[in-house]
Assembly symmetry: C2
Homo-oligomer: 435 residues x 2
């Protein structure tokens, strides 16, 4: 297996020049890549029994700020626009239909926290602080290369933080979102998606047509369908792939080239199918099976799965934006006009059971469905500290699982490593309970 | 002056029977009233140089759970409905037009925190925890007497907490609110106010007419106009009334009989006008003048004004829901049909510059206007811990004030007394800076 984040990569003069052109702070960025490389080696490459097809995802991660950024820069030179997003509510279909590329923005590590806490309250969730940290420290080439950055009114934290981020990022576009799944709420989402479509058309100078929109819908559906195949394979016992590796695919979903990503997920699935047929897994049969539910785990936030799987359990599903909440449900492809397809897009995204919606009983129902279909023995509810929507839902989620006799462990943490010992102790006790 | 919360009051058999009928927990309620009485005596009655007309407000406070509740019970016996509210976005005009009474619900003190924290994350703001505590401990006769309780989708904390409160309160009605002041946002508010009107009509069995709605608009406008007169008088130097006493009027605004309240505020203003003419104040001329801005201070949350005025400064305005943000702007009275007047109500409430809106630059502008018109020397930004919308806006507020050379102290606190020493030290240093 290729040694990732190697010296060649960090020192590549081509990449360094590219980063410098983008305004990336080279010194801070080197530090980030060094930490990222070490973490990846210790957490990912140290895993046993990995599918061979994970080599592709290792490569993508090794080139996360290298080759992929170069590809984006090449696209830009050809006149394509790059749109950065912080949320699964920003429809990739609309970007692609206007010949733009949508990329998820880095938010999974603490950076420049002192500077960040001059702008945001200390009691802000790690994800939001991280997005500010990457910007303030100038270490995210995705953000620096974006022609438009989309913020969305999901939680209070993000909604209000974008007001400040607008002063740091030139091209911040704000998308409003409903809070209730009412007729009025759907109207709001539709109006906002139409407004976003107009804005993207203005940005790219490309008019979205029925053909380009259908192609985009089909392309994104294929990417999701590939993930559905991967997720379905995790239902097997023994699980054919680790939660860490599945999470990586879910993370790379957000920024890789869509076609290539889809093909690579299918190659991985081909291998996993064989494993399942041969009853080979990453761990022994009857290993405690955990479903993670709650807040998103953005690159490189691998803290909790590392703890869980390090303690001998296996994660069989992620009820998360970086996971099934983000990838489930396809967009109806049968629309004939742009208007019909836009309606189909609204329907697809309006079904996302994010905790910003009230009430959100469908999320609790879906967690129970996932527990059943993935054969999970228990649920770990992953709450980022100060993330009010998911922390507020954690108690009802636990109660709902209790009703069907499924143990649930509610955790609240951030990106720091200070609580590792405490988390390990709690997860260990929970896993023991499931054996 | 009447000694409030006296033995007669707490022990009154009539009231005790009434509370018991309402399902109030008498033991917990006695404890609450005892603490409240002590606090009121120490904080309010200990003030020097109070306007004589404050005797009415003292009396109202002394009978906050007594006579006022008896009045509500009498109204209920006559077939009138009581609607409880947690927010200034619930239009009193609509309740009154349907022959219902709107009352603000208690949320200014910690109660039953252990039970509360089994339902809500520890990192929830004190106001929300308090509303749960009063319900769980059954110590709020307003809540217990309400035929309908209205929750609103303002912040994430409240929005998600109401999902759980719905399991504790039989008659919880949820009102959705916009997050952006767009045409779409106004449409949402209008649709929700029309839906609320329908729900109130169903509750009361009273059809709102153009006449009843106009009467209600006029009545609420008069109440607001009385407050505007009071606020305007505070512009004088020396300030004719303390911030504590003004806050009390702002708090009682939410639950007193509207006519009687309006008359009492005008009586107070008559007295204050004389004081202003005679250049008499509650403190010496050139006492440091403070504007409080930020989170609401619900009864009996008098902690911060007590500290500020205890240190020799005077509070000249509250940029708060329990203050000018809640009472400013009248509803246009010229509409002829119910539809026209409903539109006027939507316009009036849509102008509220709550931090749930994004962007919310008008709040920063209004704070600067208030500083100027009230002759404030400095602003203390009052943030309830974990209140993301106001804590997030605190930094931009401070920056905006800095631009015009006005000092701003950002505080973050809760309802506990543990940080009293630290707050006093910080406020003292701030006040010294203004002298």
């Amino acid at each position: 297996m290729k040694i990732i984040f190697n010296r060649r990569y960090v020192m590549s003069e081509d990449y360094r020049a590219m980063w410098q052109d983008l305004g990336v702070d080279l010194e801070g960025h080197d530090a980030l890549l060094a930490v990222l490389g070490d973490a990846y080696r210790d957490i990912y490459l140290a895993q046993k029994n990995r599918p061979e097809a994970m080599a592709y995802f290792d490569f993508v991660m090794s080139e996360v700020h290298g080759l992929r950024i170069k590809e984006l820069m090449d696209e830009k030179r050809e006149g394509r626009k790059i749109i950065g997003s912080y949320c699964v509510f920003v429809p990739e279909e609309i970007a692609l239909a206007a010949n733009a590329t949508l990329v998820g923005l880095c938010s999974g590590a603490d950076f420049a926290m002192e500077e960040v806490e001059r702008l945001l309250p200390r009691n802000t969730c790690a994800l939001i602080k991280s997005s500010f940290g990457f910007k303030l420290a100038k270490v995210c080439p995705y953000l620096e290369s974006a022609d438009m950055v989309v913020g969305e009114n999901t939680c209070d934290g993000k909604k209000k933080a974008y007001e400040t981020l607008g002063g740091l990022v030139d091209n911040l576009y704000i998308m409003d979102l409903p809070q209730v799944k009412s007729a009025q709420g759907r109207e709001l989402l539709k109006a906002e998606y139409l407004r976003f479509k107009d804005a993207v058309e203005v940005l790219t100078g490309v008019k979205i047509t029925a053909e380009s929109l259908r192609d985009a819908i089909v392309l994104v559906n294929k990417k999701r369908a590939a993930m559905h195949r991967l997720l379905a394979l995790r239902k097997a016992d023994p699980a054919p792939i680790s939660g860490l590796d599945s999470l990586l695919a879910n993370q790379i979903f957000f920024y890789d080239n869509p076609q290539r990503f889809t093909e690579s997920v299918h190659l991985l699935c081909d291998e996993l199918e064989k494993r399942v047929a041969e009853k080979r897994g990453v761990s022994a049969p009857r290993t405690p099976r955990i479903l993670i539910s709650g807040c998103p785990q953005a690159v490189p936030n691998w803290k909790l799965p590392m703890i869980i799987e390090g303690l001998g359990a296996v994660i069989v599903g992620e009820e998360s934006c970086v996971g099934e909440r983000g990838t489930r449900n396809l967009t109806d492809e049968s629309g004939e006009s742009v208007a019909e397809m836009m309606d189909a897009i609204v329907d697809r995204y309006f079904a996302v059971d994010c905790a910003i919606f009230t009430p959100n009983g469908e999320r609790r129902d879906h967690i129970r469905e996932m527990v059943e279909s993935y054969g999970a023995d228990g649920v770990i509810h992953y709450g980022l500290q100060f993330c009010q929507p998911y922390l507020m839902e954690a108690v009802p989620v636990e109660n709902s699982l209790e009703e069907v006799g499924i143990p649930c462990l509610r955790l609240e943490t951030d990106y720091s490593m200070e609580d590792m010992g405490q988390l390990k102790t709690r997860v260990e006790a929970f896993v023991e309970q499931l054996r």
